[in-house]
């Protein structure tokens, strides 16, 4: 088995990390293990190492070898391979497919849980409220309850006026 970093020397150091129900494995040669600080348990973390290794490969596979480039900032998969970092917030959309697998191995989940910026939360709540109102409006029209429909229409108008950007209703 060859070392998964230099891909030249025979791997003699085999590491397995189990976090929760996820198992990650790395095979390294002695030299790469040394440079990555594997022998020093205090300075070493498998996830850091895996990130550098896995990320670029995943992206390469997902793209089927074709050059994927972020339309906004011009960042490419080759850049990602080199830096291990993305170019701009839009890169998350550009490289979405490739990142999904990577995120799965790296994190607890693939969907954000936790803090949401207040403005975002408000517009999300508002969007949800609009949806409900529109459903009720459709129902009222169906039942030919035009009085109720008029009330609902006004409410929708009011709510969509609060939405940032062009009104969507």
């Amino acid at each position: 088995m060859l070392c998964c970093i230099c891909k030249e020397r025979e791997a003699t150091v085999h590491l397995t990390q189990i976090a929760g129900d996820k198992m990650q494995k790395v095979d390294l040669c002695e030299e790469c293990a040394k440079t990555k600080g594997v022998n020093d348990p205090t300075g070493f973390s498998l996830a850091d190492l895996l990130l550098g290794l896995g990320a670029s490969q995943e992206i390469e596979q997902a793209s089927g070898g074709a050059e994927v480039k972020c339309p906004r900032c011009g960042f490419t998969q080759a850049d990602f391979k080199k830096a291990g970092r993305l170019g701009c917030p839009d890169c998350y959309r550009t490289f979405a497919d490739a990142l999904e697998g990577l995120l799965k191995t790296m994190h607890k989940g693939t969907r954000h849980v936790g803090k949401v910026p207040e403005a975002m939360r408000q517009s999300r709540d508002l969007a949800e409220r609009l949806k409900t109102l529109q459903k009720r409006l459709a129902k009222a029209i169906e039942q030919e309850d035009f009085e109720q429909a008029a009330v609902l229409r006004d409410e929708i108008k009011q709510a969509s006026a609060q939405l940032p950007g062009p009104a969507k209703a």
């Binding site: 020093d40 970092r85 170019g87 989940g109 849980v113 936790g114």
Partner: protein
């Protein structure tokens, strides 16, 4: 203003108290944030980085908690200044390497520190002495909530806060504590602890974070995963793990005193001997020996000596802090001589460790005698 006039003197810093500070030296919560309409710092051109900095710095300066603050662009700080900030754990080593287009904003009591254009546009951290993860989280959460009104963050409801490195995606949070664990190291119980902490998905690192040695028996424990778990859940998980590590450390100390007292006293006595009498000493050796002296204070071998002395010397003897006290540029050898001079001077009135711990000082270790 000069950064050195702004920074709290090490003597004062070392006297700050917090819960469990026998073992937990400090708590920290860091959030990573980016602006929606700019490339991440590592990819952005200098002009764009400057534009980002000009948007972020005033917003940070306007925070009520930052009324009295220090703000500077990294290119206006000397290498020595930056190194001092690293030794104080206020900025990362990565940030110290930055120059034009990156900046720093620090509040008066050094409990809030904002790094602009480090790996992300904004890295903000709250620091507290002792074990105060929740308080640190609340402080930084508050600052973040005020900032989001002025700055348009890169955020999506699926992936959360978007960060330059996918490892920070989601909450962008890193919750960490710096622990002094000489008992576990001396009892040779540290490795299994590190391994089991790793298995819980938490990272254990050395004194200066990623890829550094555990100098002075100081370890940093932090979360690694940031996506799919809420901030409060992460804080709670770390609190639980830290409570266990604290228990293990206390237990290791108690067991050592009970079963291998001579070995422990020998280590501490020799540490004192060298620190108080050496004429040349490296910073690494100093840290390792000060750690033993700190342990000696904890278990009552140095009656009348405050732990703050060890903590103060821990800061003062580091290379950049030592250099700062001398106007001429020092070589490593010269620093070792001056470091030893300082230690001999500061420990002149500290009596050598007593042969047996005094009960009041070592109260926590009072086990019923058989």
């Amino acid at each position: 203003m000069d950064i050195h006039e702004f920074l709290t003197p090490p003597a004062e810093m070392a006297r700050r108290k917090g819960p469990y500070d026998r073992i937990v030296m400090s708590s920290r919560v860091r959030l990573a944030r980016n602006l929606r309409d700019a490339a991440f710092p590592g990819w952005a051109k200098k002009m764009e980085r400057v534009r980002v900095m000009e948007m972020i710095v005033p917003a940070v300066q306007a925070l009520p908690d930052m009324k009295d603050h220090y703000a500077e662009s990294m290119d206006n700080l000397s290498t020595l200044d930056k190194q001092i900030l690293v030794e104080r754990h206020l900025i990362s080593r990565e940030h110290a390497a930055k120059s034009a287009g990156s900046g720093l904003v620090l509040n008066r009591d050094e409990t809030l520190c904002f790094m602009v254009n480090e790996e992300d546009h904004l890295r903000m951290q709250a620091l507290r002495p002792g074990l105060q993860l929740r308080q640190a989280w609340e402080a930084i959460d508050h600052a973040d909530s005020l900032l989001e009104k002025k700055l348009e963050y890169a955020f999506t409801s699926e992936l959360g806060y978007l960060t330059a490195c996918p490892t920070n995606l989601g909450t962008g949070i890193r919750v960490s504590a710096m622990l002094h664990l000489p008992g576990l190291v001396l009892a040779e119980r540290i490795n299994p602890i590190i391994q089991s902490v790793n298995k819980l998905g938490l990272a254990v690192r050395g004194l200066y974070g990623e890829g550094t040695e555990a100098l002075g028996n100081v370890f940093q424990v932090s979360n690694q995963m940031t996506l799919g778990e809420s901030e409060t859940a992460i804080v709670e998980r770390l609190e639980k793990v830290l409570a266990q590590i604290i228990e293990h450390e206390e237990d290791a100390r108690a067991t050592l005193i009970e079963k291998k007292a001579k070995m422990v006293f020998n280590h501490i006595g020799r540490a004192y001997g060298i620190l108080a009498n050496a004429h040349s000493i490296s910073s690494k050796e100093t840290m390792n020996l000060l750690s033993l002296m700190r342990l000696g204070v904890d278990i009552g071998l140095f009656p009348g000596v405050d732990r703050a002395l060890a903590d103060e010397l821990f800061i003062l003897t580091q290379p950049a802090h030592l250099q700062k006290q001398h106007s001429e540029k020092l070589s490593a050898e010269e620093r070792d001589l001056l470091r030893a001079d300082m230690l001999r001077e500061r420990l002149k009135h500290v009596s050598r460790p007593i042969a047996k711990p005094n009960p009041p000082g070592g109260a926590e270790l009072d086990k019923p005698q058989k």
